[in-house]
Amino acid sequence: MTGDTEKAMERLPRTFIHGGSRRRWQRAGLLREPGTALGLLLVVSLLLVGLVAPWLPLDDPTQISLSHRLHPPSMENLLGTDHLGRDTFSRIVHGARMTLLASAATLVLSMTIALAVGIVSGYNGGWTDTALMGVVDLLLAFPSLILALAVAGALGPGLFNVLLAAGAVWWVGHARIIRGITLGARNMEYVTAARAIGASNRRIFLRYITPNILGPIIVIASLDVGWIILGIAGLSFLGLGAQPPTPEWGAMLNDARPFLQTAPRLLLLPGAAIFIAVLGFNLLGDGLRDLLAPLPNVQVPD
C-alpha cells in the first residue's frame, strides 16, 4: 500500500511522537541537574563494580578463616572481616553483582509481563481490556512486598525463587500505565490516518505506538530499580532470598544480626550499600523522568 502519502505522513507525526524529546535531551543534557549527575555517577560505578567484581584483586568473598574473625578495618581488610573471617569489602563488592543481576532479572520479567498485558489490553480494548484490567485491579489490592513474600514462601527460600516471586507481582501497576499510554496512542489521529490508508496492525504498532511507549517505559524501569533492590534485599534479609554463604546485601544484614552490639559495622555497611544503590537509581530515574517523558498523567476513562 505505502505510496507517497504514507511516507509524507510518517515524516510529520514523528515530531509529534517524540515530542521533541531528542532535542530536549541534547539541549538540557543529562548532566545539567546535579542530582541526576550524581545518580548517573553512582549507577555507572555500581554497574562497573558489579561487572568486574570477579576479576578484581579481592579475597574470595566466601573464604572462611576462623582465625580472622571480626577483625576491625585494616590495610589487609579495608572494611574488616565478619564473624567467619570473610573480607567484608569483598563481600560488599560481590554483593553489588548479586543485587544487580537479581534486580535486572526481576525488572526484565516484570516489564515483559507488564508490556504484554498493558499493550494487549490497551490495543485491543473491549472485553479483553475489561478482563485484564479486572485482574490488575484485583492484584492491586495485594501490597506487592507482601504478595512477593507469600509467593517466595510458597516456592521455598532461594534467590532465584525470590526474583521469580518479585517479577511475578511487580508488573501490576505498570500494566495499567502502559495500557493507558497504548490506549491514548491508539486513538491519535495519525494512527487513525495510518489505518485509513490501510497500514497493517503490526505496522501501526511498531511504527506509531511503540515510540510512544518507549519513553515512559525507560522512566518506569529506571524508577523501579530502586524499589526492586529494596524488595529483593528485604526478602533476603528475612531469610527467603539469597542463602549463606552467598554475598548478598540483604542476606549479609541477616547474617550480622547477632553482632549488633559487638560489630555494628557488619550491619551498617550492607545497609549503606543498599541505600547508595537505591539512591543512585532513584536520582537517575527522577532525572530521566523530567527529561524524557513527563509521564503523561494518564487519565483513562473507565
Binding site: 489490592a141 495485594f142 507482601i146 510458597a154 528475612l238
Partner: protein, 315 residues
C-alpha cells in the same frame, strides 16, 4: 453519589471472590505435597509412610478435586474459619486476630508520624519553592525513599538504644517501645507523602483562583490555609491504598527486628516454615483490608471533592 456507591458495593463481593481465588491459588502454586510437609514438620526424625501421608491428605481435605477444595476453603473463610496452622495446629483466624492489635498500633504510630512531618514540610517546601527549607525537604524525601527500613531500624537501635541508651531496643508493651519501630516504618511513606503534598501544593498554587485570591489582597496565610490546603491534600486521601501498602510492608519487616508481636512476625515465620494456611489467611486478610480502605478513601474523596460528585472530571 448513590449510584456510584451502589456500583462499588455491587462489585465488592466480586472482588472478594477474586481475592480468595488468588490466595487459594498461592497455596497450590507451591511445589511438594502439603500433607507430607505437615508430617515432616510434626516429626522431623522419620520419613512419613505413604499410608500416613494418604491419611493426612484425607484429614486436610487435600484428596478432593481442586474446585471442591476451593469452594470448601472459601465458605469456611466466609464463616471466619481460615483453617489451622500446619505447625502449631492453632486456628489461623484467632492468631490473625490476636496479632492485629500490635500491628495496628505500630502502623498508626508510623502513619501519624509520617503525616506530622510530611504535611507541614510539604506545604512549606512548596510555599517557599527554591528556598533552603525546600532543599532540605527534598533531600529528606530522597533519603527517606532510598533508605531500607530494615537497615534503618538497625541504625536506630545502634544509635539510640546501644550508644545513647535513650530508648529500649526491643519489646512491646509500653509507649516508648513503639518509638524506634514507628520511625523505621514511617520513613518511606513520609518521603512519599512529602513529595505528593509538595507537588499538589505547587499545582494548586498555580491555579487561577489562587491568583484571584492574592489579587484581592488576601494574606499568604489565608491563601494557603483557606484556599489551597483543602485541594492540595486531596491526593493524600487518594493515595490511602498505596500508603497502607507501604506501612504494612514496612511493618512486616520491621516487626521481626524489634520482636514486635504483630502480623509481620507471624507471616515471616509462616513463610519460612511453609505454613501455608497461615500465609494464605494473612494474604487474604490484608487484601480485604486494603480493598475496604480503598473503598473508604474513594468515598471520602467524593465527600471532600464536590467536583467528583457532579460529573465534571468524574473518574
Amino acid at each position: 453519589m448513590g449510584a456510584y456507591l451502589f456500583r462499588r458495593l455491587v462489585t465488592l463481593p466480586l472482588m472478594l471472590l477474586g481475592i480468595s481465588a488468588v490466595s487459594f491459588a498461592l497455596l497450590n502454586l507451591a511445589p511438594g505435597d502439603p500433607a507430607e510437609m505437615v508430617l515432616r514438620q510434626r516429626n522431623p526424625a522419620e520419613t512419613p509412610s505413604s499410608a500416613a501421608v494418604a491419611a493426612m491428605r484425607a484429614e486436610l481435605g487435600l484428596d478432593a478435586p481442586l474446585p471442591k477444595q476451593y469452594a470448601r476453603w472459601m465458605f469456611r473463610a466466609l464463616a471466619g474459619d481460615m483453617g489451622r496452622s500446619y505447625v502449631t495446629e492453632r486456628p489461623v483466624a484467632a492468631q490473625l486476630a490476636r496479632r492485629t492489635i500490635p500491628t495496628v498500633l505500630l502502623t498508626a504510630a508510623a502513619l501519624g508520624l509520617a503525616l506530622l512531618v510530611a504535611v507541614p514540610m510539604g506545604i512549606l517546601s512548596a510555599q517557599r519553592r527554591g528556598s533552603a527549607v525546600d532543599a532540605i525537604a527534598r533531600l529528606a524525601a530522597l533519603v527517606g525513599a532510598a533508605a531500607p527500613s530494615y537497615a534503618l531500624a538497625f541504625g536506630l537501635i545502634i544509635l539510640f538504644a546501644v550508644r545513647l541508651s535513650w530508648l529500649p531496643a526491643l519489646g512491646y508493651g509500653s509507649a516508648v517501645q513503639v518509638v524506634l519501630p514507628a520511625i523505621a516504618v514511617s520513613l518511606a511513606p513520609m518521603a512519599q507523602l512529602m513529595r505528593l503534598i509538595r507537588a499538589s501544593m505547587l499545582e494548586t498554587l498555580g491555579q487561577d483562583y489562587i491568583r484571584t485570591a492574592r489579587a484581592k489582597g488576601l494574606s499568604d496565610k489565608t491563601v494557603v490555609i483557606g484556599h489551597t490546603l483543602r485541594n492540595a491534600l486531596l491526593p493524600v486521601i487518594g493515595a490511602t491504598g498505596v500508603n497502607l501498602g507501604y506501612l504494612l510492608s514496612g511493618a512486616v519487616i520491621v516487626e521481626t527486628i524489634f520482636s514486635w508481636p504483630g502480623l509481620g512476625q507471624l507471616i515471616v515465620g509462616a513463610a519460612l516454615t511453609r505454613d501455608y494456611p497461615v500465609v494464605q489467611g494473612f494474604v487474604t486478610y490484608i487484601a480485604v483490608v486494603v480493598l475496604l480502605a480503598n473503598l473508604a478513601a474513594d468515598i471520602a474523596l467524593r465527600i471532600a471533592d464536590p467536583r467528583l460528585r457532579f460529573g465534571q472530571g468524574a473518574m
